[in-house]
C-alpha cells in the first residue's frame, strides 16, 4: 500500500510540473552541471560495468579449482560485505594526498604525490577504483556460483575429446555463463546509474562538480542548494525512466514466467 502511494505521488509531482510547463525538463538540457553529471554517470557506468565484469570473470576462472579455493573465495568476498559508508571512509584514508599509503607506494616508483580527490583528472578515477574494489567481488560471486553449477559431465566429456584449459573455457564455460553475464551486467548498470554513497563519502562531487553523478545532482538540487523540489523531481523522473528501461530488459532475461511455473 505504501508503495502505491509513493508511486502515485511521484507521478503527481510530474503532473504538477506540467502545470508550470515542461520548463524543468527543458532546463535539464541547458544546465551544464546536469549535462556534466550525465556524462560522468555514463562514464562511470560504462567503465565500471566493463572492468568489473571482466575482472570478476577472470577471478572466477582463476579461483575455481585452485589450491586453497575456499579460503580465497571468502577473502575475495570481503569488500562486498562492507557497508558503503565504511568503504568510502577506508578509501579516503588510502587516497589521502599527504599521508595516504597509495601515494607512498607510488613514491617508491618515483611518482610524486597525486592529489587523488582534488584533481579533475584523478577524482573520477578514484570513484571508479573504489567501485571496482567494492563490486567486483559481487560479479565474482555470481559467476563463480554459475561456474560451479555447470554439470561436471560436460567438462569431462570435453576433456576426453582432448580439450585443453583454454578450449574448455572458450567453448564450454563462457557459453554456459552467457545469460548470467547479461544478468550481472544489467544489475551492475542499474546500481551504477544510481551511484551515490561513494561520491558523497569520497569526493563530495568535487573538485567543483566533476564527480557529480545523477543521483548526487538530485541530492544537491533537492536538498542542499536551495530546495528546488520541482527540478529535482524532473531529474528523478528522468533517472527513473532510464532505470525502468534496464529493469524491463532484466525481467526479460530473468524469465519471470518461469518462476511462476507456466
Amino acid at each position: 500500500m505504501i508503495y502505491i502511494s509513493f508511486f502515485e505521488y511521484n507521478l503527481a509531482a510530474g503532473g504538477v510540473q506540467k502545470f508550470l510547463g515542461v520548463q524543468n525538463y527543458v532546463k535539464v538540457l541547458y544546465d551544464p552541471i546536469a549535462r556534466g553529471s550525465v556524462s560522468f554517470t555514463v562514464f562511470i557506468t560504462v567503465m565500471g560495468v566493463i572492468i568489473e565484469t571482466l575482472l570478476g570473470l577472470l577471478l572466477a576462472l582463476l579461483v575455481i579449482g585452485v589450491k586453497g579455493e575456499r579460503v580465497m573465495r571468502l577473502c575475495f568476498l570481503i569488500p562486498m560485505t562492507i557497508p558503503m559508508a565504511v568503504s568510502g571512509m577506508i578509501w579516503r584514508m588510502l587516497f589521502n594526498t599527504t599521508f595516504g599509503p597509495i601515494n607512498y607506494f607510488l613514491s617508491l616508483f618515483g611518482i610524486s604525490r597525486i592529489s587523488w580527490m582534488g584533481d579533475p583528472f584523478f577524482a573520477p578515477l578514484t570513484i571508479l577504483i573504489v567501485d571496482i574494489w567494492q563490486w567486483t567481488p559481487f560479479v565474482f560471486l555470481i559467476l563463480y556460483a554459475g561456474l560451479k553449477s555447470i554439470p561436471p559431465v560436460y567438462i569431462e566429456a570435453a576433456m576426453v575429446d582432448g580439450a585443453d584449459e583454454w578450449r574448455l573455457t572458450r567453448h564450454i564455460r563462457l557459453p554456459m555463463l552467457r545469460d548470467l553475464i547479461m544478468v550481472v551486467v544489467l544489475l551492475r548498470s542499474i546500481d551504477l546509474l544510481k551511484l551515490f554513497d561513494s561520491v558523497y563519502m569520497i569526493t563530495g562531487g568535487g573538485p567543483g562538480t566533476t564527480t557529480y553523478t545523477f543521483s548526487y545532482l538530485i541530492y544537491q538540487v533537492g536538498f542542499i542548494t536551495g530546495i528546488n523540489l520541482g527540478y529535482a523531481s524532473a531529474l528523478s523522473v528522468i533517472l527513473l525512466i532510464a532505470i525502468m528501461l534496464l529493469t524491463t530488459a532484466l525481467i526479460r532475461i530473468l524469465n519471470v514466467r518461469r518462476l511462476l511455473g507456466g
Binding site: I2, Y3, F6, N10, L55, L62, V66, M72, L74, C75, F76, I78, P79, M80, T81, P83, M84, A85, V86, S87, G88, M89, I90, W91, R92, M93, T98, F99, Y104, W133, F138, L141, I142, A145, S149, L180, V183, L193, K194, F196, D197, Y200, G204, I218, Y219, G222, F223, S236, L239, L240, I243, M244, T247, L250, I251, L254, V256, R257, L260, G261
Partner: protein, 280 residues
C-alpha cells in the same frame, strides 16, 4: 612440466588481486589499533605496534569525537531499525511469496512490479518521501526509516522466497489438504517449518541491507534520535578534521556484524542478489 609457467602466472595474478582486495581492509583494522601519533606519518605505518584500544574507548586527548560512548546511540538506532524492518520483512514476504508461488496471485505483472521496486533508485523516491513524511511529521524517527526500508527489503524478500517455495514439492500441500487442512493451516503447519532456513536468510539479508543503507537515512534523519551508523560515519568523514583512529574503529564496529552475517547467509545471499538467476 609444460604447465608450470601458467600455474605460476595464475598464482601471481591471484596474489596481486588478493592484495588489492584485502589491503584496504587491513589498513582500516590496523588504523583502528594505532596509537594517535601513528595516524599521520610519512612513510605510513604499516604495522600497528605498539597497539592501543584508545580509539575504541575514546581515551585520546584531542579526538573524543568517535568514542564508543558517542557511537552507542547510532548503533542502537541501526540495530533497532534493522531488526524491526527485518521482522516486518519476513512477515510480509513469506505470505506474499507463498501466495504467488502457490496461487499465482497477481501473475507476471505483480511479480515484475515487485522486482522493479528492488531496482528503484532511492534518490528518486527520496524527494516525494521526504515531502510526505514532512507532512506526517515523522522525519527523524525510526518509523520513517522502517517504513521506507520495508518497501525495499520485502520486495527482494518476496523474490528469494518465491523461488524457495517453488522448490518445495506441491504434493506436500496436497497431502495436507487431504488430511483436512485449510490452505492457511497447510501453510503454517507444513510449509513454514520446512522453509525456515530461507526465512532466516531473508531476515539476515534484509538486516544487512538496512544496516548499510546510506542515502535514505541521510535524507530522512538528522540527529541521534534516529540517525544510523553509516550516516554518522559519513558526517565525520566529510567534516573538517578527521581523526583516523576513532573513525576506523567505528568503521570496524560497523562492518563486523554484517560481514559475519553475510558469510553465514552466503548461499541464500546469491539468490537474493541475483533475483534467483543462480541457485546458490
Amino acid at each position: 612440466m609444460r604447465i608450470a609457467p601458467t600455474r605460476v602466472v595464475r598464482y601471481v595474478v591471484l596474489v596481486l588481486l588478493l592484495m588489492f582486495f584485502l589491503f584496504p581492509v587491513y589498513w582500516m583494522v590496523i588504523t583502528a589499533f594505532k596509537t594517535s601519533d601513528k595516524w599521520f606519518t610519512w612513510p605510513p605505518t604499516f604495522i600497528p605496534w605498539p597497539f592501543t584500544l584508545d580509539s575504541f574507548l575514546g581515551r585520546g586527548e584531542v579526538y573524543r569525537t568517535a568514542s564508543l560512548r558517542e557511537v552507542a546511540p547510532f548503533l542502537i538506532n541501526s540495530l533497532g531499525v534493522s531488526l524491526i524492518t527485518s521482522a516486518l520483512t519476513i512477515i510480509l514476504a513469506t505470505f506474499t511469496a507463498y501466495s504467488i508461488s502457490r496461487f499465482k496471485t497477481g501473475g507476471m505483472r505483480f511479480l515484475s512490479w515487485i522486482l522493479s521496486m528492488r531496482m528503484l533508485p532511492p534518490i528518486a523516491v527520496g524527494v516525494p518521501i521526504y515531502v510526505i513524511f514532512y507532512h506526517f511529521g515523522i522525519l527523524n524517527t525510526w518509523l520513517a526509516l522502517i517504513l521506507v526500508y520495508t518497501v525495499f527489503t520485502s520486495s527482494f524478500g518476496v523474490w528469494v522466497l518465491v523461488s524457495f517455495f517453488n522448490d518445495i514439492p506441491r504434493e506436500l500441500d496436497e497431502s495436507a489438504y487431504i488430511d483436512g487442512c485449510s490452505p492457511f493451516q497447510a501453510f503454517t503447519k507444513i510449509i513454514l517449518p520446512i522453509s525456515l532456513p530461507g526465512i532466516i536468510a531473508v531476515f539476515i539479508i534484509s538486516f544487512t541491507l538496512c544496516w548499510g543503507e546510506f542515502l535514505l537515512a541521510l535524507l530522512l534523519t538528522y540527529d541521534k534520535a534516529a540517525q544510523t551508523i553509516p550516516v554518522f560515519i559519513g558526517r565525520y568523514i566529510t567534516g573538517f578534521q578527521i581523526a583516523w583512529g576513532p573513525i576506523a574503529a567505528t568503521g570496524l564496529v560497523a562492518m563486523l556484524p554484517v560481514t559475519i552475517l553475510t558469510f553465514i547467509a552466503l548461499r541464500y545471499l546469491i539468490s537474493g542478489l541475483t533475483l534467483g538467476a543462480v541457485r546458490g
